[in-house]
Symmetry: C2
Subunit: 287 residues, 2 copies
């Protein structure tokens, strides 16, 4: 069977990389930093949180930039302390997704434990439909905080909707017990070979090194680097208050890295081919 | 019949003034400026937009400041271009309040034309219940963009809910055709004698003069000055983009005015008695 690289017309052992900004629409600060990174080609792709307050700002950007590679960051959680959102679907139709205050659960755990799969599917479909109604043409689907990967039932709902809309979606080749989820995929689905994402274990002063090492050590195959962009400003400090992980300083560091000359140079020196979800979508939809 | 001043124990011809900040919870910038003005006693009172993204930030402030005079700014509109919100009630139960994208209408006109009164009442009640569930003890009700005053049916729903929760609410003595709305009030309800609010006709350079003149010309009776506080920062500039009226520079001017020594001095020199909705609530709930 051909590798993704071959299917795209590259040598079989190419190193393909998607540089992906998550969480568009969550806050203006995140949108401003992400639009800037997209405009500079500092990231190849990004995905949008449809239930979030700034969706209309992203929809306006998408209309003005039809070439931008924008997918949907399907959202079933609302993780900040002082800034919350709820579902796109009518709340009485997705009540298993909601905390007692009517907002999404703060974390993936309660989603896995409490979400009825048919309600998760309803909400996921509502997010796709709402994005399309807002004039967005999504190029792919992925999952905020990985809640779509939390149970086989949620993963099945995610795949079902992705197939329905003929969209490629984030799935990663894993070898642990989660690998059984991959049996739900069809033959044509794209599976990423690896994912790079900064975690709380990376010290701030080693931020650049973390990413540069990842790029130097990239294996042949399809990799996605997931970054979380934002400006360390009053709005984002308030959004992420008491939550340094993925907080505003973190997002500023990610922005500073992806827009740095070192990042660009490392990609060139390591003969990395940047690809976009749009390119992968063409493969998925080939007859 | 006794005046409000007499009922509060002041001489009948006192000049009573509420200095009221609208729109809490709409944006962090608005919250930060409004909390600061409340903390400095630069405003006496404020009201909260329950459906808006930053409600949890205001609820945390309310819990930490139980003395603060915080009401609910009942919200049936979502007026900004790139930043939107929808209902607290389940959307399929209040569909007449929503535009095709599932958000509140942008302006009061469509609310007046399309909102079913029973759905408006349901949403208003849901906002009160949600605020209470979030730990807020509202001292009064008023209406964002005046949509509760747009038709007699909407006004009746507003009064009904206010009476149900024993809350005083904003209503102003008017002599034009809207005065018939006042016939819906009960004898115990408080009616303001006048309202002061800056409009688009006030040039930025005359901002202070507008308010200082209003204070100098205050008549005996109960007046409310409504201000819209915020910082002219990146977030609020994005919220209010292409909408200079009540925009971020406007809100910065209001913040600068209410926290100015001239405002404090004008209140003292004109023998104005500052009152709060809490004080009025005691009158409403007297046996």
């Amino acid at each position: 069977m051909k590798t993704v690289a071959e299917r795209l017309g590259y040598p079989a052992d190419s190193k393909l990389l998607i540089v992906h900004a998550d969480d568009l629409a969550v806050a203006h600060s995140v949108d401003a930093a992400s639009f800037d990174a997209l405009d500079k080609n500092a990231v190849t792709s990004a995905s949008i949180m449809v239930p979030c307050p700034w969706l209309a700002e992203v929809a306006a950007y998408a209309k003005a930039h039809p070439e931008a590679d924008l997918g949907l960051h399907l959202t079933l959680t609302s993780e900040w302390n002082t800034y919350r959102w709820g579902p796109v679907a009518s709340s009485d139709k997705v009540s298993s997704l909601l905390n007692p205050a009517g907002m999404f659960w703060s974390d993936t755990g309660p989603v896995a434990a409490k979400a009825k799969p048919e309600e998760a599917e309803r909400e996921i479909r509502a997010q796709v439909e709402h994005a399309i109604a807002m004039g967005i043409h999504p190029t792919h689907l992925d999952s905020h905080m990985g809640s779509a990967f939390a149970t086989p039932e949620l993963f099945a709902a995610y795949i079902k909707v992705a197939h329905e809309y003929h969209l490629p979606f984030l799935a990663v080749r894993v070898t642990d017990e989660r690998s059984k989820l991959l049996s739900l995929l069809s033959e044509k689905d794209i599976v990423l070979d690896s994912l790079v994402i900064a975690g709380p274990g990376v010290p701030a002063e080693h931020w650049k090194d973390f990413y540069l090492n990842a790029i130097r050590n990239l294996k042949p195959g399809l990799t996605e680097i997931i970054v979380h962009l934002g400006h360390d400003d009053a709005e984002l400090q308030a959004v992420t208050v008491d939550h340094p992980d993925y907080g505003s300083a973190w997002r500023q560091r990610d922005y500073d890295f992806v827009t740095s000359p070192e990042f660009k140079k490392a990609i060139e020196e390591n003969h990395i081919i940047l690809v976009r979800w749009k390119d992968l979508g063409k493969l998925v939809n080939q007859p």
